[in-house]
């Protein structure tokens, strides 16, 4: 998170190279798909993290795998960086363009190629929207499980690049658990297929490695996803508490009692008030915390588990306990949670969404520290929390028009992420590192680990042309950042030259 720290020190692409790229792309791609006028390029200047902007010198929109191979071969030959992009909904600046590289837009790869109802798989192009898969197979009583909040717009290719999550990860996993096979093009233009539809594949788990690799290893051109049968029964219980600690402890007890809810979402008071004002979904607003606990499975299983959860929340003195009486009310209660971001957005001109994961037992400590910082920085924070898996989304409210407030917000966000690392968690649960959290990578990993990450990239992309500068910081960058953030009196990355 580094608006002021984000400095693109690369030079603009030189005009000869740009002209050559255009000419060579036009040999096999139609004129309208090689975007080169400012008015066509501006829509690509940022992704979902709009505080970072960079107009790309060129955007190319291929529609066949063969075209992607040709584009990458040309870029490899001319040593031009490539930023792959889906719908541009990413929240960490992973698809931020580069001054000296092209944007490879995969929006035209928007077809569902095959649905195999019996094998319960779908073969899709990377530009297919996440929700479109579930919609296409709904009549077959199937769905695609990962449901990031942007699922109406985000693409499955982007989901692979970020290893996207959602509210149902605790039971159904992230993207990596729900994708069987990825076909991708390397920077050298070679087509590779990793994973497969068989039970497993020989050799290294390259399918796992490509997930969450943020477009740095290869460009995904086709994906086979796993489809699940829709659960026979789904029930939602809402419980509200007078303290965040009790709500957190109750979540722990539910899991200790052998129940894995399909979703377990917690909100603190500011988030509850905002969501209720926005969605009018029936949340109590005089409580400190509430959670939504969704149980799915067979009718008997869900009834057994619902009774157990109900008994636990009663024992822990929940002030409000409500089980959605029908599907309509269930969706209404979810609507509040799912609109928490825009709801919080109405409280303030701008908000900044953080994405750290913590071991849940440290929730109380982390929230208390955030409250202290909130007062110190004079910035309000609302919290929504994937409580089942410890993924915390503090939303910092700020006004970008107030001078210095964005910088203050970014500094506070950085501190929160570093606290997540300190308690044994991570700087990103599901949004990715991108450009945004690149400095915090230096806090989570030491120099040798970061060097090993670069080595992995080197195995795929030795001249670092795929999305360079994202996700994995250079050691020099870490040294610079470390000089700003001396931790516990220890100099991080002590082996790096400082300047």
């Amino acid at each position: 998170m580094s608006g002021q720290l984000f400095k693109d020190e690369t030079l603009d692409i030189d005009s000869d190279t740009r002209s050559e790229l255009i000419a060579r792309f036009l040999d096999f791609i139609d004129d309208e798909s090689v975007l080169r006028e400012d008015e066509d390029l501006f829509p690509y200047e940022s992704d979902g993290l709009a505080v970072y902007r960079q107009k790309p010198p060129l955007v190319v929109l291929p529609e066949t795998i063969d075209q992607v191979q040709k584009i990458l071969r040309i870029c490899h030959e001319l040593q031009v960086p490539v930023v792959a992009r889906g719908a541009g909904t990413g929240l960490s600046g992973g698809a931020l363009p580069l001054k000296n590289g092209i944007v490879l837009g995969l929006a035209k790869f928007n077809k569902i190629l095959d649905i195999d109802a019996e094998a319960r798989t779908a073969t899709v192009q990377p530009g297919v929207r996440n929700l479109a898969i579930s919609e296409a197979v709904s009549d077959l009583n199937l769905y695609y499980a990962p449901d990031p909040s942007s699922q109406i717009a985000c693409t499955i290719g982007g989901n692979v690049a970020e290893n996207s999550g959602g509210v149902h990860c605790l039971k159904y996993g992230m993207t990596v658990h729900n994708v069987l096979q990825v076909t991708a093009v390397t920077i050298e233009g070679e087509l590779i297929t990793v994973g497969g539809t068989a039970a497993d594949t020989p050799g290294f788990d390259l399918l796992g490695l490509l997930h969450g690799s943020e477009g740095m290893l290869a460009v995904t051109v086709e994906i086979v996803v796993k489809l699940l049968p829709k659960p026979n029964t789904t029930k939602l219980l809402m419980a509200a508490f007078n303290s965040v600690d009790t709500a957190g402890d109750t979540v722990a007890e539910i899991i200790a009692n052998g129940i894995i809810p399909a979703g377990l979402e917690m909100m603190d008071k500011p988030a509850i008030i905002a969501a209720e004002a926005f969605a009018k979904c029936g949340y109590p607003t005089d409580v400190e915390a509430l959670f939504l606990c969704e149980l799915d499975g067979t009718e008997e299983e869900v009834q057994d588990q619902l009774q157990k959860v109900d008994a636990l929340v009663r024992k822990n003195n929940a002030t409000v306990i409500h089980i959605a009486k029908d599907e309509e009310e269930r969706l209404q209660l979810w609507k509040g949670r799912k609109s928490a971001f825009p709801a919080v957005g109405r409280l303030s001109p701008d908000y900044y969404c953080i994405d750290g994961t913590i071991p849940r037992r440290h929730l109380s400590r982390v929230l208390q520290q955030m409250n202290t910082w909130s007062a110190e920085y004079d910035l309000r924070i609302a919290n929504v929390f994937h409580a089942g898996d410890g993924n915390l989304h503090p939303l910092i409210l700020f006004d970008a028009n107030v001078e210095g407030e964005l910088e203050k917000t970014e500094e506070l966000g950085g501190k929160i992420l570093e606290l997540c690392v300190e308690v044994g968690g991570t700087i990103t649960g599901e949004h990715g590192v991108g450009m945004e959290k690149i400095n915090q990578m230096c806090v989570q990993f030491d120099s040798n680990e970061i060097t090993q990450f670069h080595a992995i990239k080197n195995a795929f992309d030795p001249t670092a042309l795929l999305n360079p500068g994202k996700a994995i910081p250079t050691l020099n960058r870490c040294a610079e950042y470390g000089a700003l953030h001396v931790h516990h009196g220890e100099l991080p990355h002590p082996d790096i030259e400082r300047f």
Partner: protein, 369 residues
């Protein structure tokens, strides 16, 4: 429940000693064979290198039942882990085969073998959260962590899972655990293979708590597991008769299948493990067959040539591993299914980046590295 379970008394951090041995081996360009208790030493090609014994690097480092995560050193036995988890009614949901009394967590993750629940609850790679690894650069590095959602940096933990120790020495490992099902039963139905393949696949599409399906001796076996009322209700909707006996008898059947202790596995011919897509019809290879994983993992005893088995497997988008055979046959045929050239090239480049001197588990996975 919220306090970490203390490090087990037998715990023993040997990472510095192991690092010293690796540094020595790198300096002298000596190859090393990473070993635990040797329960899976039959898998892959054997080489003559010195052993790097990880078995003493053992002990549970932390266990958080309410956060569904356990972290242990690679030499910790599966037995200790399973016992500890059982105390909190939890389990390793991928049901790793032990193939012996003292199987270790390190070997389990390195081989990435999974039990009957794999198609329903996931395989080894679906449960790995983080690891500490000793690389061929003589460095101890930590990746992933102890939380379920973590996308910082490349997923090295998954890369290590199933790499057969060729990329580095697993030191400490964090895995996700799940609650045990309270109740299970097994349904038995006489069925020919072709029908069983379709039925097993269809059963998992019903939204019922099916957690294993297998077919052998012309019989299909279906395990359902969950709360008692749910299982009794599900049993009434599924074909087949209840396996005689109680829950232990059901559990024993699947344990024997997982551990290759069923009478089917008394056979001196080479044993192949064939992995195929769902609904793949029976393959036309002479031999005796057992289907696990809804027919997607097939065990075959045959004297057919490796070429025959591999061609038939490739033709259906599957692959074949020569799981158990004498060393000469393994050496001639190769153990793991050969990779396409582009993927082999990526494997070699990754190997180079993790173990540039090529000291770890030479040829254990593929003859090329």
């Amino acid at each position: 429940m919220n306090n970490p379970i203390p490090q087990s008394e037998a715990g023993n951090d040997q990472s510095e000693a192991l690092l010293a041995q690796v540094e020595q081996a790198v300096a002298h360009k000596q190859k090393l064979n990473i070993t635990g208790q040797g329960t899976k030493s039959f898998l892959g090609l054997i080489n003559e290198a010195n052993a790097l014994d990880v078995s003493k690097h053992s002990g549970i480092i932390s266990y958080e039942p309410t956060e569904l995560v356990i972290t242990a050193r690679a030499g910790t036995t599966l037995k200790e882990i399973n016992n500890t988890l059982s105390g909190y009614k939890q389990m390793l949901a991928f049901e790793p085969p032990a193939y012996g009394d003292n199987a270790t967590l390190g070997g389990t993750i390195a081989c990435a073998l999974a039990g009957p629940a794999k198609p329903y609850l996931g395989g080894t790679r679906d449960y790995i959260l983080g690891c500490k690894v000793l690389t061929g650069h003589g460095q101890i590095l930590q990746f992933g962590g102890e939380v379920m959602k973590n996308v910082a940096g490349y997923d090295v933990s998954r890369l290590m899972t199933g790499a057969m120790g060729t990329l580095g020495v697993l030191l400490d490992i964090s895995v996700k655990v799940l609650p045990q099902a309270g109740y299970e039963l097994t349904l038995v139905q006489e069925t020919p293979a072709e029908t069983a393949i379709k039925d097993m696949q269809a059963l998992a599409g019903l939204g019922l708590p099916v957690t294993a399906t297998a077919w052998f001796d012309n019989t299909m076996y279906t395990r359902i597991a969950g709360t008692e009322s749910a299982i009794n209700a599900a049993a009434s909707k599924l074909p087949g008769q209840k396996l005689p006996g109680n829950m232990t008898d059901s559990a024993n059947l699947w344990r024997q299948l997982r551990e290759q202790e069923l009478p089917f596995f008394n056979n001196s011919r080479p044993l192949w493990r064939i992995s195929v897509p769902a609904l793949t019809k029976p393959l036309d290879i002479e031999g005796t067959w057992l289907y696990d994983w809804a027919g997607m993992q097939r065990w075959l005893y045959t004297d057919a040539t490796a070429d025959t088995v591999r061609k038939a497997s490739s033709a259906v988008n599957g692959h074949a591993t020569l799981f158990r055979a004498d060393e000469k046959i393994k050496r001639d045929a190769g153990v793991f299914h050969p990779l396409p050239a582009t993927l082999l090239n990526l494997h070699q480049r990754l190997k180079q980046e993790f173990d540039p001197a090529g000291i770890f588990n030479h040829q254990r996975l593929f003859p090329e590295f």
